[in-house]
Symmetry: C2
Subunit: 249 residues, 2 copies
């Protein structure tokens, strides 16, 4: 395979100054937005509609009757919403066959920030290997692709170690032919020195400690489990859906 | 010693949203501003005056006759300036007993961005151990100190691996009692997995590769040599000077 030029960016805010034209964008928000989206889709959710604000979510529901609302501010469920941002909220009985409008502090903002990209998909540890295969396929079948941008959603526009570790795992799996920016080099090094203790390391991060203090330790354990959900969530026409084999992407 | 709260920030731009009140700020620009400042002071330079722009540097020289001008844009010496940003430019014959007004793309900008800090000093691999001792002394003698902010100057407001490795070396030397943000945790991990190959790793970074292409490989080798200059450069009244034992800081 030809070389893939990869730029890792540390937060949703940094996406503003990034060039996404003719690129594949992958958004990572391990704790917890993209992990939760992957889990929801695996549990039968029909589509996730990312929006910027809670107000926008409430307005959008008026236009899409029967849709559920999910998301958080300060890691907590919003008033009037059906779900918070815990993957365990999105059980099959509740999300099966339904659309969920979702707004989170960092994850959905990162998704909205890279709309200029040619292709957009969502990664987490849960579905990492499926994303690797999707990237390899996209770059082998489309010679117009100019690069891959991995957007770590970050935490309030600051560097977030869990997202960076997941970016590093993706880069490592893509192989040695990748051309990386410094954050990509660092992400791969960080992954390699933590690959046998990912959960433990993530529990010790700032975001990990905060979620533990709020009672979400089980969420972290789930969100740091690798390759259990073979799903590629892609953004198409303002909705995140599960890419199936018969679809044209 | 009591716990030290350490925040590592990735670039001069991020310093804008950082609280520096009652904190010690340490600026790191391995390639090459802070390494060059340390080298210049070791070679007898009386003081370095950091300024934002080349124009400001030229204006300031009119007010300070006999002062030299140093710095870079695009890693190259500026027209009408006495020195570029290479540490090898600042030899004793030229800088001995002189003031140098200096402007660089990232390093001097980072210094100007943390002026609210209670104390400000400049670190590099060259003088790392002296900085460690200065930090330990400051926090043991002053119980009002609320924390340490390590500003990696970065490259055009992006994450820079050489600066982050140096931040990691500083954190590692300060011991296990430090309370770290995620970038601090990552910096220490990155340092630990590269401590025996710092020069090689820095040569492979984006900034390293760029300097090599411009003919500055020897600069990188110098700038990644640890603990050869026992100097603590501090910012006092708009000038960077060598902190000596008889001085009150």
């Amino acid at each position: 395979m030809a070389k893939i030029y990869i730029e890792v960016i540390p937060s949703a805010g940094s996406a503003k100054t990034t060039n996404f034209v003719n690129k594949l964008a992958i958004i990572i928000d391990v704790l917890r937005a993209t992990s939760t989206m992957v889990t929801a889709l695996a549990n039968g959710c029909k589509a996730i509609v990312p929006v910027h604000t809670p107000e926008e979510a409430l307005e959008k529901r008026l236009l899409l009757p029967g849709t559920l609302l999910g998301g958080e501010r300060q890691a907590q469920r919003l008033a009037g919403f059906d779900f918070g941002n815990s993957p365990f909220d999105y059980v099959p009985e509740k999300v099966g066959g339904k659309r969920v409008i979702m707004t989170t502090t960092n994850g959905t903002r990162a998704i909205m920030a890279c709309r200029e990209a040619a292709y957009i998909c969502m990664a987490s540890f849960l579905n990492l290997q499926s994303i690797v295969e999707a990237v390899q396929q996209k770059f082998s079948e489309n010679s117009e692709m100019e690069g891959l941008v991995i957007i770590c959603a970050g935490t309030n526009d600051r560097f977030d170690l869990p997202d960076t570790l997941c970016a590093g795992m993706l880069i490592d799996a893509l192989g040695p032919e990748c051309v990386l920016n410094d954050l990509g080099i660092a992400a791969r090094m960080l992954y390699k020195s933590n690959e046998n203790c990912l959960t433990e390391t993530v529990l010790g991060t700032n975001h990990g400690q905060r979620l533990i203090s709020l009672g979400f330790k089980e969420d972290i354990i789930h969100c740091t489990t690798s390759n259990i959900l073979p799903i590629v969530p892609i953004l198409i026409e303002d909705e995140i859906i599960w890419l199936t084999e018969e679809m044209v992407w």
